[in-house]
């Protein structure tokens, strides 16, 4: 009985002390964490593929960029945006489309010890708004009469997610070059069944609900 009483007294004395010391440790950890979550840099990126499209795909006119705000060289909040238009004319149709997109997400740097380079993974949620049309369509069929039609599909919306694996390296002071592989998964598309678009701004060929892609960016660092 005496031993039990000693044991209870010990618990009553030591538990608050342990709890108090634990509280102090937690506060200290929180303080340290807050100190750690420091702004590292802000980078503006330009998608080089849109520049190559101007040369190699004359029917396409697109521009895309991004803003990357990094904290503690570990996490980055990333906003990507772009505009795109296509104008293709040939004997059997004239196809036109125009629109814009934006995506918001984050990157996680697996090389946190290296302040100049980046190897990491990321996630994005993206949306696009676009118009497309096909006029003077004339398709010849072997048995049926020729198909002629015009389509105008305006104010379409598409949404998708992207899982990203990317690398970037500082090639000159405050100038970075980066490459990213992207797995895109379509979530929503408001196109009519009768006529689907060829390309969704930011997503690419619209007939695929799941697609792989890549992007090349040049970055300018305006942060620390």
């Amino acid at each position: 009985m005496k031993n039990i009483f000693k044991y209870i007294i010990s618990i009553l004395i030591f538990v608050p002390i342990i709890a108090f010391s634990q509280e102090n440790t937690d506060t200290q950890k929180l303080k340290e964490k807050k100190e750690k979550e420091k702004f590292s840099s802000i980078k503006f990126g330009y998608n080089l593929q849109t520049a190559s499209d101007l040369i190699f795909k004359p029917e396409r006119n697109s521009y895309a960029g991004l803003i990357d705000v990094s904290f503690n060289n570990l996490y980055s909040g990333v906003l990507e945006f772009g505009i795109s238009s296509i104008n293709k004319e040939n004997d059997s149709y004239t196809y036109e489309s125009s629109g814009y997109y934006a995506s918001l997400g984050f990157d996680y740097n697996m090389l946190k010890s290296d302040v100049n380079d980046f190897l990491g993974v990321g996630l994005r949620f993206a949306m696009a708004n676009y118009d497309y049309s096909a006029n003077n369509i004339n398709i010849e069929y072997p048995h049926w009469s020729d198909y002629t039609n015009n389509f105008n599909c305006n104010n379409n919306i598409a949404a998708w997610t992207e899982f990203i694996i990317s690398i970037k390296a500082e090639i000159f002071k405050n100038l970075y070059f980066g490459w990213s592989a992207r797995i895109k998964m379509n979530l929503y598309r408001s196109e009519p069944d009768a006529f689907s678009s060829y390309d969704i701004p930011g997503y690419g060929k619209s007939k695929n609900n799941f697609k792989l892609g890549a992007a090349y960016h040049i970055y300018f660092n305006f942060g620390k």
């Binding site: 080089l48 593929q49 190559s52 190699f56 795909k57 029917e59 296509i86 293709k88 040939n90 059997s92 149709y93 196809y95 096909a134 369509i137 398709i139 069929y141 072997p142 048995h143 049926w144 009469s145 198909y147 039609n149 389509f151 390296a169 090639i171 000159f172 070059f177 980066g178 490459w179 069944d193 009768a194 006529f195 689907s196 678009s197 060829y198 060929k205 007939k207 890549a214 090349y216």
Partner: protein
């Protein structure tokens, strides 16, 4: 080190750009592949197939199994302008009319390839003058290689 990084990124970018293929390698032909099964004891398989003609009242010509048929199969196209097609199958001088009900979807495959019309078959009604039954194997018609329906005589 920086030179090698620059070279790596530039070469991977050039490789990516050069890998983009602008040539059309995709067929825009979408036809129903039909397989014929002759179970009727009174009919000889070769006679039925050799006499088989497929046509529509909206066509100017016909498809002859003797010319275009391969291994008990024949391919034909549904109307690209309507959601219903009536196709007549004539064998040994006896006609059966198949009425296809479907949805169409027009795709621009690429600026190089142009458009393709895909079909999704809802149902098929048919007369039973000579045909015994029809089985839909694949409702989606988006190429010319897959087997879509089976017709039993």
């Amino acid at each position: 080190m920086r030179i090698s990084i620059i070279l790596f990124f530039i070469s991977s970018f050039i490789l990516s750009v050069s890998c983009e293929d602008d040539n059309c390698r995709t067929s825009t032909d979408t036809r129903i592949k039909t397989i014929f099964y002759i179970d009727d004891e009174t009919s000889v398989e070769d006679d039925v197939l050799s006499s088989l003609v497929v046509y529509s009242t909206l066509w100017n010509d016909s498809i002859y199994y003797s010319k275009e048929g391969i291994s008990n199969s024949l391919k034909f196209q549904l109307s690209p302008t309507e959601d219903i097609s009536e196709i007549v199958f004539s064998a040994l001088g006896i006609n059966d009319t198949l009425t296809f009900y479907y949805n169409r979807e027009l795709f621009l495959i690429s600026p190089e390839c142009g458009f393709i019309t895909n079909y999704n078959i809802d149902s098929i009604n048919f007369t039973k003058n000579q045909i015994d039954s029809i089985k839909i194997i694949q409702t989606s018609v988006s190429n010319i290689d897959e087997e879509h329906i089976q017709i039993y005589y």
